[in-house]
Amino acid sequence: MEHFIREINPEECKETMIRNKENVSRERALIRYQIWSNVRNRSKNDRLGKIWLIVNPLVTSLIYVFVFTVIRANMNTMNLIIGITIYGVFSVSVRSGVSSIKDYRGGIYAERISTKVLVLGMLGNRIINTQFQTIGAAIVLIFIFDIDVLTSLSLILISTIFGIIVEGFMLNFAKLIRNIPDLNNIIQHTIQLLFYASPVLYSFDQTNGLHRLFNSYNPIMYFIEFHRGLINERFAFGEINQIILLIIISFLIIMSIRGYKTIDRVRWELSTWS
């Protein structure tokens, strides 16, 4: 019994657990459960279940491709698919980051589960969800556009890294948004605006003036153009000062780590908010 001691005070809920085989395997089971239940809850009412998790983002991309290429007939289809896929990961990760604060019990109602389990479950969910979101586009790149497998699959890797960073970044604002729920509407509008303002439907090359300046500070642009660059062998942001790029990416990563680290404190603080 000494393998589990808990000290509760206003600052923290500190748990000391000896890492024996039994405890470690239970912890792993809890992390798997977080991921399993999330995927399951998103597809449980559908006859085709998890297939929709891959088909839905792919169909959305194809609809955009149809709208912007067949109707307007002046778009680069491949660039569009990459842009829309990475943007899709961005918008889902933003929402996931700000709404993750709603459930800190992880589906286990009778016993407190550790924050470490919650965070690892959250990261696992982000990885799995991003894979579902991007695998369809990667397949299209391989079979329709004849892009080599490694470059196509790198879309999944780039999107996953981006998704984790964005979710972590948004966790910094989760408490503020819980305090002022109206901010959800502003976030919703910002996501919509960024779809058109970021180089999702067009290339960064096609922007100029203020729009170009804005996008040179817009992290979405770097991730989208990086993957486009892998395929086209030319990076559209090549002319931008590399120091700006380094500062933006470092800032995002630091804020993201901070976001994941604050979960324990925020979880504790919010437990008595009604």
Binding site: I5, I8, A110, E111
Partner: protein, 236 residues
């Protein structure tokens, strides 16, 4: 023989933060509502304690706080061993899978070893007597059936301290009688129980000590019979 201390509560205060908006202040004003005030008590292995008090006295808040679900605004709680809270009747069952699948899924998450899962299910089957219903989707269960599985599941586990919040009222009369027997077995088998209940009969039967809460404060703690008498006085 020194009896092991499972729970040690010192000067515990708990306040909830509520937002109150009005026509003149749509951004809402923060208000603190004191739910528990200067709670002090200890529980040792083998001790069963009843927590009595009127609705809103702070019983559920106290149990949630001991379980680690709520942050105190002052004071400390130190616990040894695994603590589980049976509040309501759902330890986390999923609605779209069967009762049996739910048990199989959740048991390892609550620390049941892989090699013991079949025995765990068998034991639960015998206790709930749900028969073939155990293989039906959980969402089709009546609240009584859900209560039976939830209670059976929790009392089949081996926490060091089990916190029970008013859940013995589930099911029919026959089940309640069985539930009391199972609870007594559980108490014998493992650590301790803290039970918040309005059933004074149950409290006097299984508990040796009582804690009486009123408006978030302990107004009495000691022998269960005396505690029940005090409780009867305040609800007059």
């Amino acid at each position: 023989m020194v009896v092991e201390k499972l729970l040690d509560i010192r000067h515990l205060d708990v306040s909830y933060r509520e937002l109150k908006s009005s026509r003149f202040n749509p951004l809402a004003k923060k208000e603190l509502i004191m739910a528990l005030n200067d709670i002090d008590f200890q529980a040792h292995r083998g001790e069963n304690i009843a927590i009595l008090g009127r609705n809103g006295a702070g019983k559920s808040t106290l149990l949630k706080c001991i379980a680690g679900f709520l942050r105190p605004s002052n004071g400390t709680i130190t616990t040894k061993g695994r603590i589980m809270l049976l509040a309501g009747t759902n330890p986390g069952f999923q609605s779209d899978i069967t009762g049996r699948e739910n048990i199989k899924l959740l048991a390892p998450l609550y620390g049941v070893k892989e090699s013991e899962i079949n025995d765990f299910i068998k034991n639960l089957e015998e206790f709930t007597q749900l028969g073939e219903s155990l293989d039906r989707n959980f969402k089709g269960y009546s609240s009584g059936m859900k209560g039976k599985i939830g209670f059976g599941f929790m009392t089949g586990l081996s926490p060091d301290l089990l916190l029970i919040d008013e859940t013995l009222g589930v099911g029919d009369l026959e089940f309640r009688a069985k539930a009391q027997i199972r609870l007594k077995e559980f108490i014998k088998r493992s650590g301790s129980v803290l039970i918040s209940t309005h059933s004074l009969g149950l409290a006097s039967e299984i508990c040796t000590r009582g804690i009486l809460l009123d408006k978030g404060k302990i107004i009495f703690q000691g022998d269960i019979t005396e505690c029940i008498n005090k409780y009867k006085e305040i609800i007059k």
